[in-house]
């Protein structure tokens, strides 16, 4: 078994742009679920909408910052439309509506009627919308190597996207840190515990839930941009499975914590890579073929999520004491 290659692959996942994108998506979901108790089952929808907004605006000739603003605005409007009818109802309704709405975004995006704009099911090719982002890079066009890791400076799966992605993740963590410690975060936690109690103390619960939904959704949209920059906008790669991976990541790292989503994402992707590469080398073709190993990796993810919820519901970084007194 080639351990140095396995190690390189696994370590490469730790700071891959995809890991950062999922971490960011989970940070958004953490604001919804960890802080406010909103059951958003459609975070992938926010991400896909952000990806579409960014890509379509760029293709239309808009500059980088404007395209990012379009993505964020699209997510904010989406959150508003979802929130107005559902946030006054009990939590479960939001779960149903968000999972359906995320599917609507995906199905509309891949419908042939919109081929001109969204590229239907084949999506938008990366080269059509990457130029503003790569153009903003201060680095010369070359290939840099750091130890065993060798990537282009600017093109596609580059050092540039890695640096930007992790800086954005860092900023999002700072934002959540500041908010968790603020009176605003306190009101959200109160709503998570008991809406009526918070209402009886004179807080406009509806408005706070809406702010939370929009903020988490906008962070999700930025995650979507980062997710599609090293690849293409593929509506079918940003469906329900993506939402569930984000949930796994959030619960793995620990909901209502600042660094939980980041740690969760790193462990999730590095762990998955470890299982796959070790099995590819160690399991003979006669027992399990390559594509079966791929599937087997996902089975292990599912089992891990189940074990996690049963034996360590607070996640890796969560406060055990806080969850132990969950009386409901």
């Amino acid at each position: 078994m080639d351990w140095s290659r396995i190690f390189t692959n696994v370590a490469g996942e730790i700071f891959a742009p995809t890991t950062a994108a999922y971490a960011l998506g989970a940070i958004g979901l953490n604001i919804h679920f960890g802080l406010t108790g909103l059951l958003n089952m459609g975070q992938a929808g926010f991400m896909l909408l952000g990806a579409y907004g960014f890509a379509i605006a760029t293709i239309a000739g808009w500059p980088l910052y404007a395209a990012v603003l379009v993505a964020m605005a699209a997510a904010a409007v989406f959150a508003l439309i979802l929130g107005i009818p559902t946030l006054k109802l009990r939590g479960d309704y939001l779960a149903i509506v968000t999972i359906a709405a995320a599917e609507i975004v995906r199905l509309v995006g891949r419908s042939t009627a919109l081929t001109e704009i969204t590229g239907a099911s084949s999506g938008l090719r990366g080269n059509e919308y990457k130029h503003t982002f790569t153009g903003a890079s201060p680095f010369p066009d070359t290939v840099w190597s750091l130890g065993p890791f060798s990537y282009a400076t600017n093109a596609s799966n580059s050092w540039w996207i890695r640096i930007v992605a992790w800086v954005v993740v860092g900023l999002a963590c700072l934002l959540v840190y500041l908010l968790i410690k603020s009176p605003w975060g306190r009101v959200l936690k109160g709503i998570r515990e008991d809406e009526d109690a918070v209402r009886s103390l004179g807080k406009n619960v509806y408005s706070y839930k809406m702010q939370s939904l929009i903020l988490g959704g906008v962070i999700g949209a930025v995650a979507g941009i980062i997710y599609v920059l090293p690849r293409a906008v593929q509506p079918d790669s940003m469906g329900r499975p993506m939402t569930f991976f984000i949930w796994t990541i959030l619960l793995l790292g620990g909901a209502a914590t600042v660094f939980g989503p980041v740690l969760g994402s790193i462990i999730f992707w590095a762990g998955l890579m470890l299982i796959k590469t070790v099995m590819r080398d160690g399991v003979p073709e006669t027992i399990m073929r390559n594509e079966q190993i791929e599937q087997f990796g996902w089975i292990i993810v599912g089992v891990t999520l189940m074990l996690l919820v049963i034996f360590r519901p607070q996640g890796i970084l969560g406060d055990k004491k806080e969850l132990a007194i969950n009386v409901r």
Binding site: G202, L215, V327
Partner: protein, 322 residues
Amino acid sequence: MSADLPTTDVRESRRAAVAATLADVERVPGAKKPDPIVVADHITRHFGGMTAVDVDHIEIQRGAITALIGPNGAGKTTLFNLLTGFDKPSTGTWSFDGKSLHGVSAARVARSGMVRTFQLTKALSRMLVIENMRLGATKQPGENLATALFPPLWKAREKEITVQAEELLARFKLDTKRDDFAGSLSGGQRKLLEMARALMSKPTMVMLDEPMAGVNPALTQSLLGHVEALRDEGTTVLFVEHDMHMVRHISDWVIVMAEGRIVAEGPPETVMQDQAVVDAYLGKHHDTDLGDDSLLDDDTTEQLEAEVRAEAIARGEQEETS
């Protein structure tokens, strides 16, 4: 009782003063009060075909402790929900402190100074006791998303409310629990916490929904003291309660509800004698000591059995006619 609370003498004189202002109030349902803080007219609330509340007129005296009593299902909690904006009445108008509360949300009712507690205590379990308290304070700049990101803009107010919260916790003897999760408190302590939290907003009127339910006798006395202390400070209190001892002990005025209507009003000493109250709420033998041996006399037993038979016949006739 801690030193900063008024002495018993002050309390008694305050009670006497409130009693004096209510002395001339008519002992009828919907009586006019000299200085009402809450006035409501023609409030009804239907759940399907059932009328839960049907109140023609109700006034709550400012600065007094008013008890709302009545048998189960009398509509007390529903009326509470209607007054505090947690439920919307089918018809009716009502005002608090001169301002109409028609169509006003629960949060705005609370901000205008009328704060409630709940029958099933709503302590925010997975938050610290001190955080529960801080949440109760109003006018916090840090509760705005934009200012929340810049601590210097809200640190000063945070310090103020922390001091206020610690004072209240000390008064309610919860100061040792300051940094515990609220979920780890006992049932009675949660009641205390909920009441203390409601006081963080310095309300003009406090609505307590069964403050004594599930509280052990040792805590009852201190809870009673806290409610009376509110009156001493000029806060109006309206409470729903089943504990007749508490009602007699601390209330200045009692409003009795049965089947959604107000059936009687009066001071606690006399309202209990009102025939409508006795019939509706306490049962015909509420003053009889069940441990009294004389009840075991054959005469008494026969008399009781006769009453029961008469009632059964009367009920049968009623059902036939309806």
